[in-house]
Amino acid sequence: MTKKLLTLLLLIYPCLSLAAQDAAEIVKRANDKINGEKSSYSEMKMTIVRPDWERTLEFKNWTKGREYALTLITAPARDRGQSFLKRGSEMWSWNPTISRMIKLPPSMMSQGWMGSDYTNDDILNESSVVDDYIHELAGEEEIEGRLCYRIKMTAKEDAAVVWGHQVRWIDKDDYLFMKAELYDEDGYLVRTELGKNLKIMDGRLIPTILEIIPEDEEGHKTVVEIEKIEFNIPVEDDFFSQQNLKRVR
């Protein structure tokens, strides 16, 4: 009797988990697509929109795997030369006007990067969209004229994420994150992220504009535009060093 039940369970189990497996697989593929490159060099423009003002920053960005990243601000003149280094889960900042290197303390991790709606935590990417959530396929929808999977991701009970759940739209053909809605534990929308303006850059199709819109602050928005990106450039590990943080141009 027990044996029969066990066999039955074994037979049913794969069928039950198939749907979930699918959703997780989709998220994993999409995640690999953005984080899977060996290294990259990019030039970006970030516009911070606030109810009564707006400012634009331009910066260069080098990355290697998920471990290393280096960012240099090139405009406006006031912030030019300021640079940021990420190694693993740690982050340093170099400010040439005061000639100071600062290791960003936990208190600064969750503040907006350069006054934007991007938090340093987002950049460090401590939590993982693959491991920290339970994925569930919740239909298909068209975003920006492209057919997307709509995937509901509920945060795992013990995962160190502040969100209750997320809904992500992933392009069916190219596995690109097209839209994300981040909700708190009570199911209230806190933040929306939008990928726009798909273009082929360095041989890859990517959304070149990323918008972050916080929900409860009216008129706030951050737009990041990728102007140039090169993948798999030759770059050594020691490029991402504190010495180079001061030197990099």
Binding site: S107, S110, V162
Partner: protein, 475 residues
């Protein structure tokens, strides 16, 4: 004989004497009652400090206070704790881990001090678990849930864990609490909308309430519409002992509400073994050993003894941990005395004035008394006694009234609700129970007598200068 005459003299001009007595009585009452309120507030603050915040003695690594680093911990905590616990003067001991970090929710991040505690041991040293806000949890009561946290009310507000919502239930509650119908009609339009922070809620309220209405009912509406999600989730991030960024997810197991908003917004309590494994500290270590004594007055002696027992550690009595409080309690008596002296100095001018009138009015009588053989010393004494009677009668009446009023108010306390924020920012409760020791009344009595004596000196000299022959001739 002199005393009797002086007492009779006081009542020769009833109205004038009563005016002076009344003014002294009012002055003394105002002074003593104000001191009672001040003293009550300071006593409550001291109680809070001992009961909830620091206890009596704390021991930490020599560099802990200057570095605040995880590695500045006490090794071999268990044996040290047992050794201290065996001391006769010690009531209870506990140890704590201190980690600086950030608390984050989906909307907000706040810098906090994370304190690792053993909830069972804590209860013997601190009374903080009693300050649990009803309905928010049960202070680590759930043994299954390891990752519970006990956070302050202000932190819960800052992290938007406490939110504001007008529901039908809230509207009903407000109605029974006496909110006029026209106001509840106005705020009902926000039914179903959730406000994440006090600021946006107040802004919405301001759009439907007039300034007067807000003043009167604003606080009531705010408090009634507070909502809270049980076991709300938040993350704590911090660096571990190897300086690596790390963190974990925690759930609110209770919210404490004390009268110190600074403390409330910065101290988060979690189970010690949870935080210990997250920061990778070895077993049998702690950052602070905290001691509660049977009698506060033993603090100095026990501190000295512990200092010699554990020379490699820093032993601090509450006076060293909270020097401001030590100063306040030490200076309190002097301050109160000074305060009363100031009031009495002002009253003294009134007494001098009255006594001068007494002397000038009775020129003929005083001349007669000296003429029939009353010596100058006795005249001097008679006037002085009169003056003391005046001030002392007023003083007694004033002290009696203030004693009665302090008795009455100390039972129920006085609520300075409108100034709550200001009080709590300084760590004081806005609900004050006035209280003053009986010793203070003795000090005041002495001060009153001194005032009476001093303010009679000038009029009495004036009386002595009278020439009996001349004085007799005046009409």
């Amino acid at each position: 004989m002199i005393t009797k005459t002086a007492w009779k003299n006081v009542w020769r001009n009833k109205v004038r004497s009563l005016v002076v007595i009344a003014s002294v009585a009012v002055g003394i009452f105002a002074g003593v009652f104000a001191v009672g309120v001040m003293n009550g507030a300071i006593d409550q603050r001291a109680d809070d400090i001992f009961e909830n915040e620091i206890a009596h003695i704390q021991i930490n690594h020599k560099d802990f206070r200057s570095n605040n680093d995880l590695v500045c911990n006490i090794k071999n905590v268990n044996s040290i704790r047992d050794q201290i616990g065996a001391m006769e003067e010690v009531e209870s001991v506990c140890d704590r881990l201190f980690v600086a970090g950030m608390a984050n929710t989906a909307r907000k991040s706040v810098g906090v001090n994370i304190i690792g505690i053993d909830p069972r041991e804590e209860k013997y040293v601190f009374g903080l678990y009693k300050e649990l806000e009803p309905g928010t949890g049960d202070y680590f009561g759930d043994p299954e849930r390891e990752e519970l946290a006990y956070i302050g009310f202000d932190l819960a507000k800052n992290l938007n864990i406490i939110r504001y919502e007008i529901t039908d239930e809230v509207a009903d509650q407000l109605k029974t609490a006496g909110l006029p119908a026209e106001i509840s009609g106005g705020i009902r339009k926000f039914t179903g909308k959730r406000f994440d922070n006090e600021k946006s809620f107040k802004k919405a309220m301001r759009s439907v309430l007039t300034e007067d209405q807000e003043k009167e009912y604003g606080k009531l509406i705010l408090e009634t519409s507070q909502t809270f999600r049980e076991r709300a989730r938040f993350t704590l991030t911090f660096v571990d002992i190897n300086n690596h960024q790390t963190g974990g997810v925690f759930r609110v197991g209770g919210i404490y509400n004390i009268s110190n908003s600074m403390y409330e917004s910065s101290y988060v309590f979690v189970r010690d073994h949870v935080i210990r494994s997250l920061v990778e500290l070895p077993e049998n270590t702690a950052h602070k050993i905290i001691i509660r004594l049977k009698d506060v007055d033993d603090t100095k002696a026990v501190t000295m003894k512990l200092k010699s027992d554990f020379p490699e550690l820093e032993v601090l009595g509450w006076r060293e941990i909270q020097p401001d409080m030590a100063l306040m309690t030490d200076m309190a008596e002097v301050m109160y005395g000074f305060f009363m002296a100031l009031i009495l100095a002002a009253l003294a001018f009134g007494i001098v004035n009255t006594m001068l009138m007494v002397v000038l009015e009775r020129t003929k009588e005083l001349g007669m008394l000296t003429a029939i053989g009353m010596n100058r010393k006795k005249v001097f004494r008679m006037i002085m006694t009169e003056s003391v009677f005046l001030s002392l009668t007023g003083g007694m009446v004033g002290m009696l009234i203030s004693w009665i009023i302090i008795r009455i108010t100390s039972a129920r306390g006085i609520n300075f609700g409108s100034m709550q924020e200001g009080f709590e920012a300084m760590g004081f409760s806005s609900h004050i129970y006035p209280d003053i020791g009986i010793g203070f009344f003795f000090i005041v009595t002495v001060l009153i007598i001194v005032t009476g004596v001093l303010s009679s000196v000038y009029p009495a000299f004036k009386a002595l200068k009278l020439d009996p022959a001349e004085a007799l001739r005046t009409e």
